[in-house]
Structure formats: structure tokens, C-alpha cells
């Protein structure tokens, strides 16, 4: 259990889009190493980080995520010939939009090549959880929306 989270404070909800090469290998390493992480994140594997549409990130925020992480291979290491360069630029531009609409780019974590070995995935996520902890829960004011049957 993350020692900074008390029973009363729910851990921030994070949706992780992880490319199934570097990033998913990193998540796997965290699992095999039995790192202890808060159970409030969900992981969606994608073929390449460039497959993550800005639309998906926004939907994630609208669906109860407090933070979204997009994880891919380090720049220069994309097996789809630098498609991740495009992904990084697109996500950074999305950060501007998030700032504009009041969600804030702090809620979007980009990790390219920094979460793929040993304890890195666990450390990167833990740092993100700490970053998100003082921010209000986005889900809180969206609860009425989420509870509508049509939304599920």
C-alpha cells in the first residue's frame, strides 16, 4: 500500500496506455518484481503509443480518470520507425488543450523509454500518483454522469 494514501483518501485513478513493447515489458517487470502499487490504475495495451488518439485521452478524463499516462518506447527505439516521435508531439500539443479546458497538463503523463526496466514502471507510476494526490478528483464531479446506465 502506498504509505502516503490513507484509507480515507482514495488513490487517484489513472488510465495507462502502454505500448506493448517497452512499456508493457516494464509493467510486466514490475509485476514479476512484485512491486506494491495502488490498485487504482488500469492498463490498456496498444500496439504503439502513436495509436493513442487524443480523443481516447479526453474520454478517459470524462470517464473518471484523474490522470492518464501514455507510455511508449524511448525516442529512437520505436519499432514502427519513429512513429513515437509523432505520438510525443501530439500528446504535448494535447497538453496545451488540457490546460485550456481546465483539466491541466499535469494530469497527462508522458513516459517514453523511462518505464521499461526493473523498478522503473513502479517508480514512474508512484511519482505520478504523488503528483496527482493534491489535485481534486475529476471523478467526483462526474459521478452523476457515470452512474447513468446509458453511460456504461
Amino acid at each position: 500500500m502506498n504509505s502516503q494514501m490513507t484509507d480515507k483518501t482514495p488513490s487517484p485513478r489513472v488510465l495507462v496506455f502502454a505500448c506493448r513493447w517497452c512499456a508493457l515489458v516494464g509493467a510486466d517487470a514490475a509485476g514479476r518484481g512484485k512491486a506494491e502499487l495502488p490498485a487504482s490504475f488500469r492498463l490498456i495495451p496498444v500496439e504503439c503509443a502513436s495509436m493513442v488518439e487524443p480523443d481516447s485521452v479526453l474520454r478517459a478524463f470524462a470517464s473518471g480518470a484523474d490522470g492518464v499516462a501514455v507510455m511508449g518506447c524511448h525516442l529512437g527505439g520505436c519499432r514502427f520507425n519513429d512513429a513515437n516521435h509523432v505520438a510525443v508531439k501530439r500528446m504535448e500539443a494535447l497538453g496545451d488543450l488540457l490546460d485550456t479546458v481546465g483539466i491541466g497538463r499535469r494530469r497527462l503523463l508522458l513516459s517514453f523509454g523511462t518505464a521499461h526496466e526493473g523498478r522503473q514502471f513502479a517508480e514512474v507510476l508512484e511519482a505520478f500518483f504523488r503528483e496527482l494526490a493534491p489535485l481534486s478528483s475529476l471523478a467526483a464531479w462526474q459521478k452523476p454522469l457515470l452512474n447513468q446506465p446509458s453511460f456504461r
Binding site: 514490475a30 502499487l37 495502488p38 500496439e47 457515470l146
Partner: protein
């Protein structure tokens, strides 16, 4: 719709007690569209396979959801085999990781872990309602190969393919094959004569009926994909169209002249290595005192690379001069002697034993060539002794680098390939140095990076072997165009009617798979199934959501996102 059968793996107790599997089973069993939920100790052992298939058949379901360990574990292979039972539709089998991804990382929070496992499984179910498999395309492979360039690499490639039994079109911009080796007198490290070295390859062109040599010809146009490239050749005799299964680019490198350096062109008897080779061929290379200067125009800001062949070539010529005249003084001025490995290092030693002198200079203090009318002497600061030396010279040989062939840029455009900063063709990946990002197009020899004739031959043979993996098949399917055993994820699909022709996908695709085409008076994009590698870049830049990957389409992803925190929320 028949429904989904879910298998929960206990993993022999590795998942419980953190994840409450009976509760999970009960909860998932209540989901709409779930035909059955089975709890098993293991899913990945040989004895499990039959039991899983039997349960699947008896349930009447048409899709399978597995909740087990990581996709990198053995259960990953199970997924591949199970999709065979689902009509080879991989979108009908999905694996959820509830061990490395859940039970093992949330041992302190069983309630949270169980809620997460439930969310992950419901995300999988939501995905499977909308995930589809891409339609495959099967291409008949044209069992012929195009080799561009008839130097060492091209000759070796063409010869290998022909000897393996396939027809080859060998295209060469010059009148005959031989490439740069034709201009040499001897090759290293064997010191075999250049003619002797080329002879067997040139004979093969002449004698092997499978090789069609197109001299004084260039590639004018190229479209298509692995298995079926449509090539247009242009020569003075006109144009010719070919359809080939694979293309090997072996265009070699170009020569660079050191104008303005070391008084080249100003004083007589200052030659490049190539000019020395010509003199060797004519028997006119002898001189009493020869000085070689290495790294002329190489490993410098304008050309920050080592061109591989200059050190051994100078050594080769230096030893030949010494052998021809034991009284000849031969000195090599260098910044490092680049003779890596076992064979070349021995070659270097043999030069020392043959009496060749080596003097090291620093990049910041290059030698100075002096003379009037013709070269007289060379002044060099010997970095190791710390003394300035004056060497009398009757000829000075400048070792210049190979540079990229001027034709590479055009070919790169035709085949949609990247060039590196120096103009050489870029390979795809660290362990695949002969492959490019276009499936079916291979590179070898100095077109890829300056190499000596021997290594060019090795690379040509290697490229031929890679080509054979395509040529040897009657057909290849688009979904198999991937390095992975299960094939690629899918390919991009563009919905008719909703493409606005903006061209974003065309610009972003690393493989040139998307192209705008006129359809009914407007331009719309079409994705080529063979070229697409399923990276998904196009789906992210499409403003209309028109481009989708059926295996990862927006509806399916949206369903996952909506369900991601549902149970977590209920907690």
C-alpha cells in the same frame, strides 16, 4: 450473438487470495453476453489445451476471454492456438492479465485488486463486442527479383538468387557489371587481382540463363509492395515494365575528390587511392618514396564518418609497392589505423613486417604537403614521438572516403525509404541490417554503408537469403507481414464515404501505406494492406475518425475506457 466463454486461471494459487476469484466468477457470470465462466488451476500446461477447447465447444460461445498471467507468459501461445478454433479470427480471443498486472502488485489491497480484476475483465468484454478482425489480402508472389546495381554486392545478390533457382533482373547504370572493383588492381585482404575476383561473378551474368542483365539502365518508377512490385526501367533503348516479388538495392557508393586539400590538383604526383589503383593496373605505380595520407576529407566536420576501406586499401598498396621494390620507402600518415578484427589486424602486421612505416598525426595538426610543380616532401608532426618530421616524397596518395551514390536519393523517393544524414540507405532495425522499412526491399553493400568488396559480397548473399523468404512462397498474406509469429495486429481501414481527403494519414505513415486516390471525382485515402504495419499513427491523425484499425477501433477502445473504473467506482 452466441456470447463469450470466460476462463479464470487460479494459477495454482498465485492469484487468490488477493483477487477473490469466486466473487469475480459470479460477477462476470452476470454480465450480458457471457455464456459461461470456468475456473481452472492452469491454462498453459499441455494437458489444459484439450479441456479448454472442449469447454468452449460445449458452451456454444463464439469468443473466448482468458484471465490469467502476463501476455508474455506461456499463455500467450495458448491465445494463438485458441484463435485457430475461432475460425482463425484473433479478435475473438482476448487475454487479461490479472497476475503480473493485478494480483502480484496489489497484495496489500484485495478489495481493490478484485475490483480492478473485474474492471479489466469487463473492459475486455466491452472490447470484444466491437473488436473485429481486418480482412486479409492474399498476394500472389512474383517469383522474380530485381537487383539494382551490379557491383560486388549486386553481383553476389543476383548470383545467389539465380543459383537458388529464381530469375533475376540485374539493372546497372553502366555498360557492364563489376562496380568499383573494376577500377582496382588488387583487392584486400587476399591481395587477389581484381579481375580474378570479379571473373566468376561476371561469368555468371553471362552464362546463367536466370540472370537478365540490363546495362545502361535505371529504375524510373516503382510502385507496389512485397510480392508484387511494379517497376519501370528506362534505358536509351526505351522503357520496360517488370513485376517482381522483391527488390535488392545494391547501388554502391561514389568516389569523392579532395579538391583543395593537400594541394591536390595543384602539384603533380598527388593522387587519390583510386588514381593509384589505376596506375597499379597499368604497371606504373612504382616510385622511390611514397607517402599515404589517411582520413583526407573523412572523419571531419563535413563528413563525420570513417569510410572503412581506406586504411586497409592503403596498407594493401603500400605492401605492393614494397614488394615490387624492396628499396622503396613507403610511409603511411594516419590518425588511427582502422583494421578491426583478426584478418585485418594481421594484414596490418604484415605491412609492418614488410617495412612500411606508420606515423600518427593528430586531427588538429594535419601534415603539410610541400613542393614546386610536383610534390617534394611532406612535413608531419609525429604525435607519438613529439617531433616534426620531413619526409621526402615522389608521390603522395590521399585516402579519400567513399560517399553516397548520387542515385540513392531518387531510389529512396521511388521506394519510400529513408536515407541517413550522409545519403546512405537506412536499415530497419538493429538485428536486421539488410532490411528496410519496406517489406520486400533490401539493401546491401556500400549503398547501405561503405564496405569492402568481401563484406559487400557477404551482404549481397545475405540480402538474397532475405529475398528468398518471400520469393519461395506462392502467396503471402497481408496479415502475416510482421516479424511476429502471430502476424501483425491488423491493417488500417478507411471507411468509404467519410474520408475528407485531408492527407494527414498519407503524411504520417512511416511506410507510405496510405495514398490519396481519385474516387468518384474526389480524392480519398486508401490504405495498402501489404504495406501497413499496424502502428496506428494514421488513426490518431484522422480528423473524422475515418481511418480505423478494426482490431483496435474507436468503439472498442471507447467501451474499454467507459468501463475502466466502473467497479472501482462502486467500491
Amino acid at each position: 450473438m452466441p456470447g463469450v466463454i470466460a476462463f479464470l486461471c487460479r494459477c495454482c494459487g498465485e492469484i487468490e487470495p488477493t483477487v477473490d476469484l469466486p466473487a469475480l466468477r459470479e460477477r462476470i457470470g452476470r454480465e450480458e453476453g457471457v455464456a459461461a465462466v470456468e475456473l481452472r488451476d492452469t491454462l498453459c500446461l499441455p494437458e489444459d489445451r484439450a479441456a479448454i477447447l472442449k469447454a468452449f465447444e460445449e458452451s456454444g460461445a463464439d469468443r473466448i476471454l482468458l484471465a490469467a498471467c502476463s501476455p508474455y507468459g506461456k499463455v500467450g501461445n495458448v491465445v494463438a492456438k485458441l484463435s485457430a478454433a475461432c475460425g482463425n479470427d484473433r479478435s475473438r480471443v482476448r487475454l487479461i492479465d490479472i497476475r503480473e498486472g493485478c494480483a502480484w502488485i496489489h497484495r496489500g489491497d484485495p478489495a481493490g485488486a478484485t475490483a480492478k480484476a473485474c474492471d479489466l475483465m469487463r473492459m475486455g468484454l466491452g472490447f470484444m463486442r466491437h473488436g473485429k478482425q481486418s480482412a486479409d489480402a492474399v498476394v500472389s508472389v512474383r517469383p522474380e527479383c530485381l537487383v539494382v546495381g551490379a557491383g560486388s554486392a549486386g553481383l553476389a545478390a543476383a548470383g545467389s538468387i539465380a543459383r537458388a533457382g529464381y530469375p533475376v533482373h540485374l539493372v546497372e547504370r553502366g555498360a557492364a557489371g563489376g562496380g568499383m572493383v573494376k577500377l582496382l588492381s588488387h583487392v584486400y585482404p587476399t591481395d587477389a587481382g581484381a579481375e580474378e575476383r570479379l571473373a566468376p561473378y561476371l561469368e555468371a551474368i553471362a552464362e546463367n540463363p536466370l540472370i537478365t542483365f540490363h546495362g545502361k539502365t535505371r529504375v524510373a518508377a516503382a510502385t507496389g509492395y512485397a510480392g508484387d512490385f511494379k517497376i519501370r526501367l528506362a534505358s536509351e533503348k526505351g522503357e520496360k515494365n517488370l513485376r517482381v516479388g522483391t527488390v535488392i538495392l545494391a547501388t554502391g557508393a561514389g568516389v569523392w575528390l579532395p579538391r583543395g586539400l593537400y594541394r591536390y590538383g595543384e602539384l603533380k604526383e598527388i593522387l587519390t587511392l583510386m588514381e593509384l589503383e589505376r596506375r597499379q593496373r597499368e604497371g606504373k605505380a612504382a616510385a622511390k618514396r611514397t607517402v599515404f595520407i589517411q582520413c583526407v576529407g573523412a572523419r571531419c566536420p563535413e563528413r563525420p564518418y570513417c569510410a572503412t576501406i581506406c586504411c586497409p586499401s592503403s596498407i594493401k598498396n603500400a605492401v605492393l609497392l614494397r614488394k615490387a621494390d624492396p628499396d622503396a620507402e613507403v610511409t603511411i600518415l594516419h590518425r588511427d589505423i582502422m583494421t578491426p578484427g583478426h584478418i585485418l589486424e594481421r594484414y596490418y602486421r604484415s605491412a609492418l613486417e614488410a617495412g612500411v612505416r606508420f606515423i600518427r598525426f593528430a586531427e588538429a595538426q594535419p601534415p603539410v604537403v610541400l613542393g614546386e610543380g610536383r610534390v617534394g616532401r611532406v612535413e608531419v608532426f609525429d604525435a607519438i614521438s613529439g617531433l616534426t618530421r620531413e619526409i621526402e616524397a615522389d608521390q603522395v596518395i590521399l585516402s579519400t572516403p567513399l560517399v553516397a551514390n548520387a542515385d540513392n536519393a531518387k531510389l529512396a523517393e521511388l521506394f519510400h525509404l529513408p536515407l541517413d544524414g550522409y545519403g546512405f540507405f537506412r536499415e530497419d532495425y538493429p538485428l536486421h541490417p539488410l532490411e528496410t522499412r519496406q517489406a520486400g526491399v533490401f539493401i546491401c553493400g556500400s549503398a547501405r554503408w561503405p564496405v569492402a568488396s568481401g563484406e559487400a559480397v557477404t551482404q549481397g548473399e545475405g540480402a538474397a537469403m532475405k529475398a528468398l523468404s518471400i520469393l519461395g512462397r506462392k502467396e503471402i498474406s497481408a496479415l502475416s507481414m510482421s516479424r511476429l509469429p502471430e502476424g501483425k495486429l491488423g491493417h488500417a481501414r478507411i471507411e468509404d464515404g467519410s474520408c475528407s481527403g485531408c492527407g494527414n494519414c498519407v503524411a504520417v505513415c512511416p511506410y507510405g501505406a496510405c495514398a490519396l486516390q481519385p474516387v468518384g471525382g474526389v480524392f480519398v485515402s486508401r490504405a495498402n494492406k501489404m504495406r501497413c504495419r499496424a502502428c496506428g499513427s494514421c488513426t490518431s491523425v484522422c480528423p473524422n475518425g475515418t481511418v480505423q484499425m478494426p482490431e483496435h477501433n474507436a468503439r472498442a477502445v471507447g467501451a474499454m475506457i467507459r468501463r475502466a473504473f466502473a467497479e472501482g467506482d462502486a467500491r
